[in-house]
Amino acid sequence: MSNIHVTTTINGDKVEFLADPRETLLDCLRDKVGLTGSKEGCGTGDCGACSVTVDGTLVCSCLVLGVEAEGKDIRTIEGMAEGGTLHPLQRKFIEHAALQCGFCTPGLLVASKALLDKNPSPTEEEVRYWIAGNLCRCTGYDKIVRAIMDAAAELRGEAA
């Protein structure tokens, strides 16, 4: 099977790559485009470490084929900070020590940003349900939830 030429937009930049149709978007991001921030934890949509947004919808990039990215707007963890300035979520994750090994962190940041873009004032319960598809084996989630709640407050302009 010959490869298929894919033209897509990743973090605002036009990107082209050749994909075997069996390859996932995660494979393509990591191996063809060189964006290795999205991680492969399970490869079956259970762990959320590969979370990205496609046309604004949060998905597991391991459950999307690379060829399906044609004409789409893909956002990954690499597009989250603006230059050297971290996104408030990234800063709060550090301040709250919401990571240990860090493998789940890119997925959790992309997922929590998708939540705050949709709902700037989530309750703690809403946060916990939203990130139920992002597995972290280090932190026990509490620090992650606190970091997300704190970042949400900052983004709303409330004093932390």
Binding site: M1, I4, P21, R22, T24, G43, T44, G45, D46, G48, S51, V54, T57, L58, V59, C60, C62, L63, V64, L65, V67, E68, A111, A114, L115, Y129, W130, I131, A132, G133, N134
Partner: protein
């Protein structure tokens, strides 16, 4: 593997009908891609349906009937206030499937075609009286949702046939539906038992009802005796007892790591009782 992107269901059906090897249709991909990765299914032809016009449409006709395209993801169902108002049970069933990320891709049609007896999206469709539009090499046909599953991982669809959309009847006045499942945690699990109840009231009296059970047989089952138990009643305690007993009697589950046969039979009755109460309250506008 060859990746196809047809622009019509007729074209998709033709590709599938002419294929000599394993064929899969791709909508959300949350089952197909997992099966491909695990090596359970290695399709020679993968037919992506998402370029076909209308597959992402959710249309409410003037008479109140709904048509939900084959590629509409779960997240879009919950975001459609009119659909949630008409068929909250159907929406809450699909929303139980997987995580936020999975909801961004997974579809009702895919949940049905994957053929899992525990599919959370299916019982409420059955209870609602939903049907599916099918395109095949010999034209189109429309059949009831409960006639699609044929056993674990199997459907009654024949070679070349593909579901283009799901149809929900008009909700009408004084109706309500609900879906509940039992899992040993709060989220991200597979149903041990699922139960959907759909009913219509005249005043306080139930004048139409349909009860569907999931994960207690090789396919979703319609529990006619359970529905009869509440017909003509105001869902009083006696009716609820009869409903629970009939739902338990209809269940014919296996024992596995998720639950024993005896447990599932018991829980089928418990869920039927609770789902009926929710559906009744919704029908009353409460």
């Amino acid at each position: 593997m060859k990746y196809h992107t047809p622009y019509s269901f007729e074209e998709a059906a033709k590709i599938a009908a002419q294929a000599s090897g394993t064929t899969r249709f791709l909508a959300g991909g949350t089952d197909v891609l997992v099966q491909m990765r695990a090596g359970i299914v290695l399709p020679e032809e993968l037919i992506d349906l998402k370029k076909i016009p209308g597959v992402f449409d959710m249309i409410r006709n003037e008479d109140g009937r709904w048509r939900i395209g084959a590629a509409v993801p779960g997240a879009k169902l919950g975001a459609n206030d009119a659909l949630v108002a008409d068929w909250p049970g159907v929406v809450e069933g699909m929303e139980l499937v997987g995580s936020t990320q999975v909801q961004g891709r997974a579809t009702l049609t895919g949940n049905l075609c994957n053929g899992s007896p525990a599919a959370d999206g299916v019982p409420a469709l059955v209870a609602a009286g939903a049907s599916v539009d099918i395109t095949g090499p010999n034209g189109t046909r429309t059949i009831a949702v409960e006639d699609i599953p044929a056993g674990p991982g199997k459907t009654t669809l024949t070679k070349g046939e593909v579901i283009s959309a799901i149809n929900l009847p008009a909700r009408g006045n004084n109706g309500g539906d609900a879906y509940l499942r039992f899992i040993p945690r709060t989220e991200m699990d597979i149903a041990v038992v699922g139960c959907a109840v759909n009913l219509t009231l005249d005043g306080d009296v139930i004048v139409a009802a349909k009860v569907a059970l999931g994960a207690v047989a090789p396919t979703v089952i319609v529990a006619d005796e359970a529905a009869k138990a509440i017909l003509g009643t105001t869902l009083d305690d006696a009716a609820l007892d009869k409903l629970a007993a009939a739902a338990s009697a209809a269940a014919n589950p296996i024992s596995d790591k998720r639950g024993s046969r005896e447990f599932r039979i018991e829980v089928a009755g418990v869920l039927a009782r609770r789902a009926a109460k929710i559906a009744y309250a919704r029908a009353k506008g409460e």
